[in-house]
């Protein structure tokens, strides 16, 4: 029945997420909450907490590769305008 409490908790975070916006940080807040919720689902609903190292490795690999894709693509876009124009 841990699950029930967990679900209520996630439900509450949703409510908190869409009325409370502290300035420019709201993207960070929204994403942090999303990540937390995802982590809870992964750990408990998907039993990863009780799974072997291999499953952990699979998940970490997925996140790692996603990070590669984002980080390196943005290394292009962020530095587009760094060269002096003439």
């Amino acid at each position: 029945m841990i699950f029930l409490a967990l679900m209520l908790g996630t439900g509450l975070t949703v409510l908190a997420a869409f009325y409370d916006f502290p300035g420019p940080l709201n993207a960070v807040v929204a994403l942090t909450i999303a990540c937390l919720k995802a982590t809870l689902v992964v750990l408990y609903f998907m039993h990863v907490r009780y799974s072997g190292r291999l499953i952990w490795l699979v998940i970490i690999a997925a996140i790692f590769w996603l990070a590669i894709m984002f980080a390196i693509t943005f290394s292009d876009y962020w530095t587009r305008n760094w060269l002096p124009i003439s």
Binding site: M7, G23, M46, V58, A61, M69
Partner: protein, 249 residues
């Protein structure tokens, strides 16, 4: 860990054991790992779209805020709740199978499917709203191309598009393109999920599962939770970000 595993011979071979596996444990492990690996490919699949989203949000922040604010946050939040509950019932279905309570399994599976269908229904309503507001991008619907009515300052008609400073309808269209691509792909996964659930339900009905053999329920559960997780990210990214700038800015 799998070493020697194949060597430990199972007591009596289970009817669900396929010929090329040595024992049930190996079979279950292969199935679970297979699903996880599949989910990795799914993450990368959605990852491409998340990348496009991030990039265009970075380039056209104002248009994305305006477009996002037009989405119906109540329906979005409702759907988030529905999916989380369905994830919970799914987890309960897996749990019930593991302890061998067939009836509870079936009830939980049916609940999960009802919730899944509810989600799709709400999504259909949202899509229809967008259709009414002419927000379906490009010529996707040939007889109703993208042509939203832009609200004048002071106009609070929720069916009109309220552009904040720096936003153009063209870039709003880009948002909707990504919105439909991502939620559409997500909905497609939900539909596939419902198909899987139907099969699992029939299997559960016929009493195929037992505490020794419950891998199919578990594996389809993983899939269902994954689809839930995608939505957990889609909801704030598409509906919430920039909500504080609504009607202001």
């Amino acid at each position: 860990m799998p070493e020697g595993l194949a060597a430990t011979h199972e007591h009596a071979s289970h009817p669900a054991l396929r010929h090329h596996f040595e024992n049930m444990e190996q079979q279950r492990e292969a199935g679970t790992l297979g699903m996880w690996v599949f989910l990795v490919t799914e993450i990368m699949f959605f990852g491409g779209m998340f990348l496009a989203y991030t990039l265009f949000r970075y380039e056209y922040p104002a248009a994305f805020v305006s477009a996002s604010n037009h989405l119906d946050i109540k329906l979005g939040a409702l759907n988030t709740g529905v999916l989380i509950v369905s994830s919970f019932t799914m987890a309960m279905a897996v749990y019930s199978t593991q302890i061998g309570r067939q009836k509870a399994t079936i009830i939980c599976l049916i609940l999960t499917m009802i919730l899944g269908a509810t989600f799709l229904g709400v999504k259909a309503i949202e899509y229809h709203d967008k259709y009414n507001d002419q927000l379906i991008p490009g010529q996707l619907i040939p007889w109703r191309p993208f042509n939203p009515e832009v609200a004048k300052p002071g106009d609070t008609d929720p069916h009109k598009l309220h552009l904040i400073e720096g936003a153009t309808t063209q870039n709003v269209q880009l948002f909707y393109w990504i919105y439909f691509a991502m939620t559409g792909m997500h909905a497609l996964h939900m539909i596939i999920g419902l198909g899987i659930m139907t099969v699992i339900l029939i299997m559960a009905w016929r009493g195929k599962f037992s505490p020794e053999y419950h891998a199919p329920v578990e594996i389809s559960g993983l899939y269902w939770h994954f689809v839930d997780i995608i939505w957990i990210f889609l909801f704030p990214l598409l509906y919430l970000l920039g909500r504080h700038l609504e009607h202001g800015g």
